[in-house]
Symmetry: C2
Subunit: 477 residues, 2 copies
């Protein structure tokens, strides 16, 4: 009875994916609602995932020479307004501070929705000469965007992220850094989160406010919707001109710098849930799981069982993130909890196992049970966790490929988006009008112009004019 | 010439300590000013110190069972007002958000100055039964207090910190946690930052708004001023009653929880500067230094010198945070820079050293130069860094002890604070009126009632009535 209750309370993902997501987020204790409309609490189980994301991503950043800094959370209105496209993009969705203490402010401040303008203001003074370049700075912080509809991790008024902001002497170097960071994101998603991504460039309609080019990685969720998972922007010298960021080059001439920015957010926790989860709850890739192994004693009141469970955890703890569930609950309930929380592997150990010098390993993703001799446990666990990590990536890739379609005509295009959910590869003339038509008709947006172009047809799927690019289309979170 | 310029630009600390501080912060490239009044940029050299503070302190927290979470940065006005003392303490210095996007908000939100009210609002729903206790949560974030006068790290409108917030079934357990975290802070300051601290309790006048008891660690800066370095508060059940945070206890009765909070901030970077710095710049304790060893090649253009410098760094990097200064500057300039940035040890290596199979180690704090055979370098470095760490603590302790005075009468008390700077230990009757008189007269505040009480006199240093407590007094940052 008790065992069932935990799982019964989750809606099946095939019945109502959105409700399944909400249920998992709640039952796995990742977030909670707050009295602050549109803002969430990230609870320990959720925040621990973010800490692992930070740890892994930050190490990858530092390998490429990134240095961390911290800039203010407030932007004076006049500063936000310096770059025309940028302010147009963000002003409608920022929160404004108008009073400090008991007094009205002379100039109102917005809470940063992103920090390009602050970095520009900083770089303007910090960069004098070519010797000061490149600047490759990043900050981990929270940002605020006054969204109307919110969902935990996917869209909230405040979210956590990192934002990298760089300045370079040449456009080539800026472009190289933009793509380098996109590749870091792609590698992180695939190698650590086991989420395969499509790398490409955003159309002008979908690019970042103020950017010359926006690159993106796009992932497909289990329900066939797309999730923009990381973006990297090349600003050219647009911001530098708006803010007057110049440096004396080797030839003694004053030149404008070229800038980039790139960000990844807590929405990746949403991606992990929606790519890997199942009807029993969360499934965490071993590399990102805060707890990788849960030791669950069977008949723990029998002499020696709990001690053995602790001893096993103790042996494993130098190589794995391991815990013992020594609570008063039944083993079945503990299994359900471990599954709900997505802990990659559980070890079942009872009196008979101890006697036989063995235990049972159970994989969260496949539920496969493996009997292992205790003295071979460490080696077997390494193998199982590595296999689970790579299987999860392959399964996600297979799912994505099975839900990626091609359409040569508008009829095909509409039919797919009416009957199915997934990515559709189709040709595009390059005209924003066609994106508008498609969005209006089908609530579908261009996700990216992938680096790996294919030739689906000669003509634009929408207007029939000659095609310029193959585009991934999808319904997005 | 060039070598001198870097150092000459620092004011001597004996001439003008405040200017020396400002100079060091700027020349060591720790922070920069911004267009946002009262807010600073924390530059890479400053932020890297904060990252090490976070890493060390977070590990110590987790050893005591702390779990990290993230709560919103906004507090609805009605929520802030629920605990009377708390809102009185903070309302005058908060920043108010009044507009979201293009619309005025129905209720204004303050940017968190501290998060007691948010944690209470969260715990109210999250805690139902004694099984849910204790909650031992912490968050790393930034907070905002609309200060009038600001100084980098010491006082700014936005600063970074951690804030722990816990809930317990009994008052005893809350008190135990309050003191446990104070001890963590004290141990962190002494063992990692090499800063000795006085542990004690704040008087009611100086305690946190809404707390039943505030405990503090107080450090003495080089100029004899005190710096409150970490505080830990026991709220009793005051917040629980204001917010209605109840749990069903084992006896099935509904009871209020007992709460604590505790915080440490980026002002500790200011403490490191002001305790350990000298007229050549920063001196970083090895355990917190982002770079512990700088290899400086001499005559680096001669064949083999740079290669050897890289090879040495390569050998050391598994055990030390090491860099090579291979820039085009002169060795003298590099020495000055390494000293300014407070890098604990430099290794000087030139053609003659290489020939002789040796190098020079130079300690930042004592400037002691030690000749070391290259094959004994690793061992010697470990020894030197460990010695430097403990010497720095002992030196700081000796300085503090030499600047800690006792006063039995108001005449003595005034004389010391007129002629000298430091801590003064003196007796107090327990009446706030005496604190007010002392503050008014001498700009001196009670720093704490130390756990280690001494008997200086029978009567209060101010009013002459019977004394209740021995108090540390000082001029504070």
């Amino acid at each position: 009875m008790a065992e069932k209750k935990l799982v019964e309370s989750i809606t099946s993902m095939d019945v109502d994916f959105a409700q399944w997501y909400t249920d998992v987020v709640k039952k796995a204790e990742l977030t909670d609602y707050t009295s602050v409309k549109g803002c969430m609490v990230i609870k320990p189980a959720g925040y621990a995932i973010w800490e692992n994301i930070q740890k892994n991503l930050d190490a990858m950043f530092k390998e490429t020479g990134v240095q961390n800094v911290y800039l203010p959370m407030f932007i004076p209105e006049s500063l936000l307004q310096k770059e025309k496209d940028h302010v147009e993009g963000f002003a409608p969705e920022v929160a404004w501070v108008t009073h400090g203490g008991l007094n009205p402010l002379q100039e109102r401040l917005c809470v940063r929705p992103t920090s390009e303008t602050l970095f520009c203001d900083f770089y303007k003074n910090d960069i004098q000469s070519y010797r000061d370049l490149p600047k490759v700075y990043n900050q981990w912080c929270s940002v605020v965007r006054w969204e109307k509809e919110t969902r935990p991790f996917l869209r909230s008024r405040e979210f956590l992220w990192q934002e990298g902001h760089t300045a370079h002497a040449t456009m080539e170097e800026a472009e190289e850094r933009t793509l380098q960071m996109l590749n870091v994101y792609a590698r992180f998603c695939e190698e650590v989160l086991a989420i395969p991504v499509i790398k490409g460039r955003k159309t002008d309609k979908e690019k970042f406010a103020g950017a010359e080019a926006t690159y993106t990685i796009e992932a497909l969720m289990h329900d066939g919707k797309a999730l923009q998972s990381g973006t990297s922007h090349n600003f050219g010298d647009g911001f530098a001109k708006a803010f007057g960021i110049q440096f004396a080059d080797k030839d003694n001439k004053l030149k404008y710098v070229y800038q980039t920015s790139w960000g990844m957010t807590t929405r990746m926790i949403g991606a992990i849930i929606m790519v890997h989860g199942d009807d029993s709850g969360l499934v965490l890739p071993p590399k990102i799981a805060p707890t990788q192994v849960m030791v669950i004693p069977i008949q723990q009141k029998k002499e020696g069982v709990l001690d053995k469970a602790y001893a096993i955890a103790d042996t494993l703890k130098s190589n794995f993130r391991v815990k013992v569930d020594d609570s008063d609950k039944s083993p079945g309930w503990k299994f359900s909890e471990q599954e709900m929380r997505g802990i990659p592997v559980r070890i079942e150990i009872g009196p008979k196992d101890i006697e036989a010098g063995k235990c049972i390993i159970c994989r969260r993703d496949t539920r496969e049970k493996i009997e292992v001799a205790l003295d071979a446990l460490e080696e077997k666990l390494s193998e199982v966790l590595a296999k689970m990590q790579s299987d999860m990536l392959e399964r996600a890739r297979a799912h994505r490929d099975a839900h990626t379609y091609t359409a040569a005509t508008m009829e095909e295009f509409e039919k797919i988006f009416t009957e199915k959910a997934g990515f559709v590869k189709a040709m595009w003339c390059g005209d924003q009008a066609c994106e508008d038509v498609i969005k209006e008709k089908l609530s579908v947006t261009s996700r990216c112009m992938p680096f790996e172009q294919e030739h689906i047809a000669d003509t634009c799927v929408c207007c029939g004019k000659p095609a310029k690019k193959m585009v991934y289309w999808g319904r997005a979170y």
